[in-house]
Amino acid sequence: MSGRNLKDTHGEASRFGVRALIGFALIVLALAVLGGRFWYLQVMRHDEFTTRSQANRVHLRHLPPPRGLIYDRNGVLLADNVPAFRLDVVPEQIKGMDAMLARLSTVVPLSGDDIARFRQSLRQHRPFEAVPLKFHLDEADIDRFAVNAWKFPGVDIAPYLTRNYPLGPDFAHVIGYVARIDEKDLAHLDADRYAGTTHIGKTGIEKYYENRLHGTPGYELVEVNADQRPQRVLERVAPKPGQNLYLGIDTRIQKAAIAAFAGRPGAAVAIDPRNGEVLAMVTVPSFDPNLFVNGIGQADYSDLLHDPDKPLLNRALRGGYPPGSTIKPFMGLAGLELGLRRPTDTVFSSGTFYIPGQSRGYRDDQRYGAGTVNLMQAITQSVNTYFYSLALAMGIDRMDAYLSKFGFGAETGVDLPSESGGVLPSPGWKRATFNQPWYAGETVIAGIGQGYWVVTPIQLAHAVAMLADGGLPHTPHLLRATRDGRDGAIVARPDPPEAPSAIRNPADFDAVRQGMIGVVYDPRGTTYNVGIRTGFPYVIAGKTGTAERFSRKGDEYITTKDKAILAARHRAWFICFTPAEAPRIAVAVVLEAGAWGGTDAAPIARKILDAWLATQPAPPAPSTLTAGAAAEQAKAGAAQ
């Protein structure tokens, strides 16, 4: 037993020696096999592999996905892809880029902009990748280059799909445009997803829904010969096109609204109050988005930038204006909802309102006042005094809290980039902005939508739509439905969960609505004389606004009737919704240089309503709230 347990160290060492020798022999043998394999590959099959190495030019060609198309609610094409040709350069194959570009420009005209942009994108690509030099070649350029192509190795004409906006300026501020990817875009782009893509959404829907519109790229493995000419496609993974978008906008309403402005700068937004769908969104003047797609020239861009009417400004989304009297229905509602006023409570308007203990007067529009008015008449006749006194009673904090429920002072969240939030005046805002205290007089003028107030047309349209739907907030949105490819099903945009109404007591809304009906139907209403009610089958509830661009310096009343002078001082607003009893459209119109809201902005709104009416399939249902009855009610309210 002990013999077996006794270790035979000497025997182990010698056994190890044998094993190590055998192991080493095996290792040498194995490495000899490996060496033999190298010999087989590097000597026996050397010629074959040399050939394959030289022919080894399998190129990966990116296939950018076709961008999703954009339609209006009826399938009218708003953004299309059309085939075009461009000039591509493979930097690796060019010896002497400057000389080549100089020679090339004698064949195909190259602008300074083209070359500058090309040099920029040269830095963003690897040397063997094709860099676009000039987009959208015309027929003559293609023909001339084709004849001279042999002189320019490494330069090729490549087909591609370019973005086209068939309706041009009509939708420039809604759809936006795509343009070439620049360095700023590259910083946050997924390089794989954008391999081979040259353009990206820069503004509007094109930017906001870039992710949906772009799609998924595919690729092709192409075998090329020594001259880099493709021989055959080895493998192809097709790109997946971007989603097609259907907007809620109706082109007919959009066009009618643009026509109604007749070129005067302004903006209009129409919203379906039942769900927040934007039916029209108009900014006048506009520009041709197609200019930007292939790279707008410096001269064209400078013209747009320095045009005094600022066509590049998206007024509907970013134009900030004081709301003026259009704020009164919301103020009146706030008074009722906060329990500060009953609909029947009256105020005596003498023409001037004084804060108790102060000598500065705040004016009514009518020199000697409107007399004793209740809420409905105060809205109908736009009586400042009623709202001065209400604002003072409410105080700026409660005013601020209530009006912010209607979205004032914040972005509406519409599906467009770079929306402006406007200003809902408040002591906090004033301190943050100017570091100044708040004065009671500022509360008073805030009550009629003047002072620090800034709203955007989309904001006011949203507020009107919300009011029209009994205070239910629906985030305004342009996207109505999407579709994957041509054969996919149209998928409606999911409705977000319903938020609680901003109006607690429906009777409060009724009172305000009566006042707004009076604006249009009551003989004392601010648009009665303009007659926008005439011949319209539904009852329209509206409110005018004439906001002053500057605060008045002196005490004298403006007595001039010269519209040009007035227009220079005023911004004309009109907000409305119809049918008053069950609203299906809400509109906000601003005319930048309008004399009066009633005479200048309201007719534009009526044209929008007419265009909308024409799109409604069913004949008007009998109204439960006829125009006559509305007028009667308005009078009854006034008599109280």
Binding site: R4, N5, K7, D8, T9, E12, A13, R15, F16, G17, V18, R19, A20, L21, G23, F24, I27, V28, A30, L31, V33, L34, G35, R37, F38, W39, L41, Q42, V43, R45, H46, E48, F49, T50, R52, S53, N56, V58, L221, L234, E235
Partner: protein, 374 residues
Amino acid sequence: MNATIASLRTRVVRFGQRLMHRPRIDLPLAIALLILACVGLVTLYSASDLDAGVIGGQAARFLLGAIFLLMVSRIPPTLLRTWTPWFYAISTLLLVAVVALGEGRGANRWLDLRVVRFQPSEFLKLSMPMMIAWYLHPRQLPPGWKDIFVVGVLIAIPSALIAKEPDLGTALLVAASGVFVLFLSGIAWWRVGLMLGALAGAAPVAWHFLHDYQRQRVLTFLHPENDPLGNGWHIIQSMIAVGSGGVFGKGWHQGTQSRLEFLPEHTTDFIFAVYSEEFGLVGVLLLLALYIFIVGRCLWIAANARDTYSRLLAGAIGMSFFVYVMVNGGMITGLLPVVGVPLPLISYGGTSAVTLLTGFGVLMSIHAHRKWVG
């Protein structure tokens, strides 16, 4: 307290001095390793398309590895032997931690200790042969079935854990290092034959446990031309690189396969292909000769070691080194399936260079404590 610190300082200083003045290294082995490292840097400089940052990083790793080598060479093998079970247990526990705490997404090899991130599987490359040698050295050799079984379990646990990470290449290397100890311990040939037979029988079972991508690699290896642009791409491009290199190669930094990016992973797993393309068959044979010299020198050191533990350990480390070369070379020439094993001291990156040099440190120590020449 102060006295302790002072004595500690004296000890450290003395250790440093000894390290500097009387390094216990085997000169032929050290020179061979130095040549190899230089060849590695030159090849890497070309493969990385003359990226100085890559070279700097790699040189820093070599330096760190050299420091480890020198330090470990000062540790007597008897001390290493005493620590062995702890070393093995701790590295295996770390592996368990990686598998248990892993984020469970993709390959999970790293343990993040906030300060350092490392792959515990690297430890096993050293602690595995140490453990098997430790287990076998007091026992009756050649080992019987009982000891073979115990050794089998000791090898299987960490290897299975590493394979589960999944890192088949490292699992293979770790298992091989353990098996080499068994082989060197003089295990009877008939037992070797029996076990190889059993292994062949178990292959279909192992196939069942492979990951899909691992199976794909084996299938692709068998028929690379079936999938020329998918998994077969690596093998074909690598073979084109090697084959087009010819006898004398295309010259340094003239390899089109890697420069035009046809060759994947050309600074790491496929760097041998770059070397073969640029230096040709002559370069390859010289490199293989260098590797054979290193392995042979290791075995020579092992044969002259003082005790069974040192002998088995040194021999296994040397033979494992060969496995790297064989698996990597076999992979790039299409002789073996694609397994992620680096070419020792040539491939860029990773802890593998540091681990390898530490292993050579153990060899240096064994060499310093070799048999009394009698």
